[in-house]
């Protein structure tokens, strides 16, 4: 299996956390995994894009036209990174309102900002919420909910319960909407 994921967002939204969770999930599932994170300037509100490559890969960065999935924590960052997706075959999971423009990929959007504003979940769990939404929407996503739960627990047992609740809430929200 080969599966490549781009995670895009703005510094501070927790994109790096998702890279960690996915690479731990890969190791728990006995898969090969190479990923990268962005540090430095990107902490200060700049654009952040991180990569996770599952399967037989040697270079940590994802080339344009190569990713299977784009998880975007913010709408403009989704658009900025669209061309990393495989033409006609990529999936976009994006935190955006219904005004997200028509693009040549399969797009699943959820307005997570509005939900957080209505106190449906704490804003600092936006990343986990989007991961839950991904689990519910992307049929090719290479991890099960169980594996993600285990990875979240392994990463930080103290915050695991809170994060897993948000994960499930996103899955339920996604199913309710469909």
């Amino acid at each position: 299996m080969k599966y490549q994921i781009v995670i895009a967002g703005v510094g501070g939204q927790g994109a790096v956390f998702l890279v960690k969770v996915l690479s731990i999930a890969a190791s728990l599932a006995g898969q090969k995994c190479l990923g990268t994170e962005n540090h430095g300037m990107s902490q200060r509100g700049g654009s952040v894009s991180c990569y996770v490559k599952l399967g037989d890969f040697y270079a940590p960065a994802i080339d344009e036209g190569q990713a299977d999935l784009l998880i975007a924590l913010e709408a403009t960052e989704a658009l900025r990174n669209l061309h990393y997706l495989k033409p006609n075959a990529g999936t976009v999971i994006v935190n955006a309102t219904s005004e997200f423009p028509e693009v040549a990929y399969k797009v699943y959007h959820t307005d997570a900002f509005s939900k957080a504003r209505n106190k449906a979940f704490p804003i600092d769990a936006l990343n986990v919420y989007m991961l839950g939404f991904t689990l519910a929407k992307d049929p090719n996503f290479p991890f099960t909910c169980k594996e993600i739960e285990q990875a979240i627990t392994k990463m930080n047992p103290k915050l695991a319960e809170k994060n897993i609740n948000v994960l499930h809430q996103a899955i339920n929200d996604a199913k309710a909407k469909a």
Binding site: T36, A59, A61, G65
Partner: protein, 603 residues
């Protein structure tokens, strides 16, 4: 044992498993987590090891080097631009050699993600004539830490490990040792004046000759131990690709995915190269292409009409590698037909640029605003330095940035060259102790007239909040007293979120400057909003919103203050993003000319 590790984590663990127990360095992206992670492992393994941040890279290098000549296994960590600072010491150490072992980790940043320049540390290793190892992945970085330590001990030389950003910040499931198997070496300095204290020309001349001999021996070792076994495994295709570090990953993926017939030879130690043996190898190939990041370090050591790369203009000369660039090079060389198989349509609509910006609530923003407000852009020159406050560029508050400590010496230069303008320099606390003190002494004794504002948030914020000398030991190291020790008074201000108070303070500096005959120096005692320990009780006076009936869209707040929550909403009026606002209230009373910023009722 398998572990999911980030490259810098793998390097830190490698240091432990290589028996290194003295680590010194200066933070710099992408290298910073190495020392921090070593400290973490040190506690985990209950290791009696030294691992501290130095005031700059040269100091860090020298501490580690002294450890190594006293017979210990040591390491210095930095980023490529930091190596420039340490290079003075490195060049001498490369002549003299050592007893225990010393690994110099210099992390490169191809693609300039968080650096002023792209320079290739491997070229520096070549310049200094020390061996360099170039890992491609976290696993290799881990293995090469151990290999490098061994080579260092074997040949009594400093060995460089050069991971790039895509190794430092890559994550991989790595195979690592379990527990601790090596015992640290006891330090024991043996006096040997002709070696450690040799004075030019006779002593150093001999060491220079020895260095040349040593590098020949290492070349032979590189061939026998690292290259020859790989050569034996080549398939005998018509073209040969020479790779190094991350270049290898891109090449290997492109070769498999595009079904290109080629032999790939990865050079783990790109300097020193066994030229004769490698060139002899070329005989059986039609073309040899070099893929390396970021300078032509390998290419410069070899010569053959069959050789293609950066020097022959067949490969890109700047920026990070990608598979698309590999294919482009191959097309240029005539190995594949043109056309980039790695291409997807870009979104063509307009997207807002998202420049890195200071955090909401950061005190630096207020100080920059106050300086431009009081001194006026048209009448002032504002040199600044390397750190979070560099992002004051977004506020239009900064005129020049050169290198660590450069703001102070440049302020001197501007004061001499353009005395009609006021010169107001800014520098952070960590940068000041790194290399701002020497130029301040220079300015004091030569009476250069400018204002220097030291922004003291007591942390090295930009690289992830590493501790600073003052933070660790405030009783002994105090910026105010350092300034006074340089021979000049130090104005002190304890930051408050009320912007008018910061402006008043800067006004008092202006008054002092008008009467001054030399530098006017101030320290602003701040905090970093990400610094949980210090920020307690300092932020959160009031959240704000915009009275949209009052807002006249004059752009002033967003251009001169540029706090991330400020943006235009659908109606073209200023609005504050409640998720981003830190509630520091700085923007409340002073900035808006029509007082459209108001305190938010409910939070």
């Amino acid at each position: 044992m398998k572990q999911t590790l980030m490259g810098n984590d793998a390097i830190a663990l490698g240091l432990i498993h290589a028996g290194i127990d003295m680590v010194s360095g200066y933070p710099g992206t992408p290298s910073s987590e190495i020392l921090a992670n070593f400290q973490k492992y040190k506690h985990h393994f209950k290791l009696d090891a030294y691992a501290e941040w130095a005031t700059n890279e040269k100091v860090g290098f020298e501490v580690a080097y002294a450890g190594a000549i006293a017979g210990k296994r040591t390491c210095a960590t930095m980023k490529q631009v930091g190596l420039n600072v340490a290079s003075d010491a490195l060049m001498s150490a490369a002549y003299i050699g050592l007893k225990g072992a010393m690994l110099l980790v210099s992390a490169d940043d191809p693609g300039f993600y968080s650096s002023q320049t792209e320079q290739d540390s491997r070229s520096f290793a070549k310049f200094a004539r020390i061996p360099v190892l170039d890992p491609a992945t976290p696993q290799e970085a881990y293995d090469m830490v151990k290999l490098g330590t061994k080579i260092s001990h074997l040949f009594e030389t400093v060995v460089m490990l050069r991971p790039v950003m895509r190794v430092c910040h890559a994550r991989e499931i790595c195979e690592v040792d379990e527990g601790l198997s090596v015992t640290p070496l006891e330090g024991n300095f043996e006096r040997n004046v002709p070696r450690w204290g040799a004075v030019p020309p006779a002593g150093r001349f001999r060491q220079g000759l020895e260095q040349l001999e040593r590098i020949e021996v290492i070349k032979a070792w590189n061939w026998k131990e690292l290259i020859a076994p790989k050569v034996a495994a080549l398939k005998g295709e018509k073209v040969l690709f020479l790779t190094s570090g991350t270049g290898d990953g891109y090449v290997r993926e492109a070769v498999t995915e595009q079904a290109i017939k080629a032999d790939v030879l990865k050079l783990d130690m790109p300097y020193p190269l066994p030229k004769t043996e490698l060139e002899a190898l070329f005989a059986s190939y039609a073309k040899v292409v070099v893929f390396e990041e970021s300078y032509p370090c390998i290419e410069e050591q070899l010569s053959s009409p069959k050789l293609y790369g950066k020097l022959t203009k067949h490969a890109h000369e700047i920026d990070e590698f990608s598979k698309a660039k590999v294919m482009e090079t191959l097309a240029n060389v005539g190995i594949v037909k043109k056309a980039n198989p790695y291409q997807s349509p870009k979104f063509t609509g307009e997207l807002p640029r998202r420049a890195p910006n200071m955090c909401p609530g950061c005190p630096h923003r207020d100080v920059h605003y106050a300086i431009t407000d009081v001194f006026k852009k048209e009448h002032a020159i504002c040199p600044s330095d390397i750190g979070c406050y560099t992002l004051g560029l977004n506020q239009g508050a900064i005129d020049t940035i050169l290198c660590m400590g450069g703001s102070v010496s440049m302020a001197s230069g501007f004061a001499v060259a353009d005395p009609k303008k006021a010169v107001v320099a800014t520098i952070g606390d960590s940068t000041f102790t790194h290399s701002g003190v020497a130029p301040l002494i220079n300015a004091v004794y030569q009476n250069h007239r400018f204002v220097l504002v030291i922004l003291d948030n007591s942390t090295t914020a930009m690289t992830g909040r590493q501790t600073t000398p003052e933070r660790s030991n405030p009783a002994q190291v105090d910026i105010k007293r350092i300034v006074e020790g340089c021979g000049v008074a130090c104005h002190e201000y304890f930051y408050e979120p009320e912007l008018s108070k910061t402006i008043d303070f800067v006004r008092s500096l202006k008054t002092a400057y008008e009467k001054a005959t030399g530098p006017v120096v101030a320290v602003v005692r701040e905090f970093c909003v990400l610094d949980k320990e210090k920020v307690e009780g300092q932020l959160g006076r009031a959240f704000v919103e915009i009275d949209q009936d009052l807002c006249v869209e004059c752009d002033w707040c967003i251009t001169a203050f540029k706090c991330p929550p400020m943006h235009y909403d659908e109606n073209g009026k200023m609005a504050i993003d409640p998720f981003l606002c830190a509630g520091c209230s700085s923007c409340l009373d002073v900035i808006c000319p029509v007082d459209a910023f108001v305190e938010k009722e409910e939070v």
